[in-house]
Amino acid sequence: MSRLTPLHAIAHSRSGDKGNRSNISVIAYRPSAYPILLDQLTCEKVYSVFKHKHVTAVARYELPRLSALNFVLDNALEGGVNDGLCVDGHGKTLSSLLLGIELLIPEAEIDEDYPYYP
């Protein structure tokens, strides 16, 4: 059985910036959840989360040894820390936006008391 659950239930994330580009890592807590990321956390899916930010391209890099994906989002930061007007010019908070995305996750991968179902 799978159910719609935030990515946050199975992965953690950190975002960083270089200029007007943001990178967001997504790291599965357990290696067994990494295939879920590979299958469902596509560039298209990530683009849909950040499209309103005027992102122009999303690249995805795979790190199977670390059960992690690294996303690079072009033009995600309204010009970047030196030129943007967003209060978070670095895009440090973007990792939390991505972790809120809902995936169809097998119940076996989710802790019983996970509190944030949609």
Binding site: H12, G19, S25, Y61, P64, N82
Partner: protein
């Protein structure tokens, strides 16, 4: 023969905890072998501001944070042969070195030697024409319009840091190098790794990348209560890495501190600010991070192995800073009954005022408390959402207005329009804060490394 060296971090950015280095140094004191302490305190903005300060005063332009960090530990480090490598130099390593020697004298430290690295500052030996011709990475449209270039600094690699250590320095102060060079430099110096021993250089670079943000690898910037727990963030232990002659890294942290070192904390930092992990470009080596393996050898100690290296690019990245105009930011709060509608009215009132005043610069007007940092410059997500369903109409919201202008007067005027909401805006607005600050914009270009490296040198500075 040295078999392993130990390197601790005292700061991961300008503004990091002043006292974080103390437990790191105390831990290093109890160890043997070559020991180093690094401080990474430079950002792109800091450098541009520092260049301006230096032009106004030849004795200025180094990191003022030096005053906060060094006196805490300098004497202990000297007493125990713990060498310090730091980028307190900013735009003026010479002046940073002289100030460091003066601090040593004030603390009664005798015989301390300080060396610096010069040559990252392209404006010392070239002009704008080279920068305008250079291969762009981003932001270069700024350069064509700029009437003055404030700073142009190349990211140097680790070799000049090793050269400075070879002079016998107790303290090495650099300007713009890669952050990882602060760690790879000591490794090159101690192990004499060859310049084409790329796998080892890759390991040293990964060690540097893991250390460069201080507590971000030991549980800082990691806690997510209920999911990722970190003990005692108020006394977060800063990282200490051991690197052996073969490039095997063990990440740990200072004794008697909070924080946590786990596969998860190390993975987050490993990928921090990385783009293509197969080809992480540095001046010393191109690193394949996807080959890295992490293993917990004991609680709070993670072994890092496997980075692969290949030759570095033939160019160096140069950050060019130009005038970025003025940024005005102003905020006012609304809270309690019907707060959301009052905050929305305040926002639209400012919008209309700017139209009346013919202020046309790009402006961001948003409501903090409605997910503004995740929204775009037009608050599109908020406006398209069902506000009543998603937010408490009676909650707490803060209207924020931000604008950038070439004109300081215009920027100040916008900030003052928020201030004027006190008496001319909706009911119950409070807590106006405003700031108008001069800005620096940056562009990045690639320049043939030979053009730069012929000017790079390490030298000792005397009081």
């Amino acid at each position: 023969m040295t078999t392993s060296i130990t390197i601790g971090s005292g700061a991961g950015f300008a503004g990091d905890r002043f006292d974080a280095a103390v437990p790191v140094v105390n831990t290093l004191v109890g160890l043997t072998g070559p020991r180093y302490l690094i401080y990474e305190v430079m950002g792109e903005r800091t450098l541009a501001i520092a260049q301006k300060l230096k032009r106004e005063n030849p004795q200025a332009g180094y990191s003022p944070w030096l005053e906060n960090y060094l006196p805490e530990v300098l004497k202990t480090c000297m007493d125990h042969q713990i060498r310090i490598v730091a980028n307190f130099g900013n735009a003026n390593p010479q002046a940073a070195a002289q100030r460091t020697l003066a601090i040593a004298a004030e603390l009664g430290i005798k015989g301390m030697r300080v060396a610096i690295v010069l040559g990252d500052d392209l404006l010392e030996y070239t002009d704008a024409s080279l920068l305008l011709k250079a291969a762009p990475i981003e932001g270069t449209e700024l350069l064509a319009d700029a009437h003055e270039i404030h700073a142009a600094n190349a990211y140097l690699g680790a070799q000049p840091v090793a050269d400075a250590l070879a002079l016998g320095a107790d303290v090495v102060l650099v300007g713009r190098t890669t952050d990882a060079a602060l760690v790879l430099g000591p490794l090159l110096h101690e192990f004499q790794w060859a310049a084409d021993d790329y796998d080892k250089l890759a390991c040293g670079t990964v060690a540097g990348h893991l250390l460069e943000c201080g507590g971000q690898v030991t549980g800082g910037y990691f806690a997510d209560p209920g999911f990722k727990e970190v003990p005692d963030l108020h006394q977060l232990g800063f990282p200490i890495v051991e690197v052996d002659r073969h490039g095997v890294i063990v990440v740990g942290k200072a004794e008697g501190t909070g924080g946590i070192v786990s596969r998860a904390t190390v993975t987050e930092q490993l990928l921090y600010e990385v783009h293509d992990p197969v080809a992480y470009l540095t001046p010393d080596v191109t690193v394949d991070i996807t080959r890295v393996e992490l293993e917990e050898v004991e609680p709070n100690r993670i072994r890092v192995t496997g980075p692969k290296g290949s030759p570095p690019p033939a160019t160096l990245k140069v950050t060019v800073s130009v005038d970025g105009g003025w940024l005005a930011e102003a905020e006012i709060s609304y809270a309690g009954i019907n707060a959301l509608r009052r905050a929305e009215l305040a926002a639209s009132t400012v919008q209309q005022r700017l139209q009346l005043l013919s202020i046309n610069e790009p402006c961001r007007i948003e409501l903090l408390g409605t997910g503004a940092v995740h929204d775009n410059d037009q608050s599109q997500r908020f406006k398209q959402s069902n506000a009543a369903a998603n937010f408490s109409m009676n909650g707490e919201f803060r209207v924020r207005v931000a604008i950038r202008s070439r004109s300081k007067v215009t920027a100040q005027r916008v900030a003052d329009e928020v201030l004027a909401l006190y008496c001319c805006g909706p009911a119950g607005g409070g807590g106006v804060r405003q700031s108008v600050t001069e800005q620096v914009s940056t562009a990045s270009v690639l320049i043939d490394r030979q053009l730069i490296e012929q000017h790079v040198r390490a030298l000792e500075v005397f009081a």
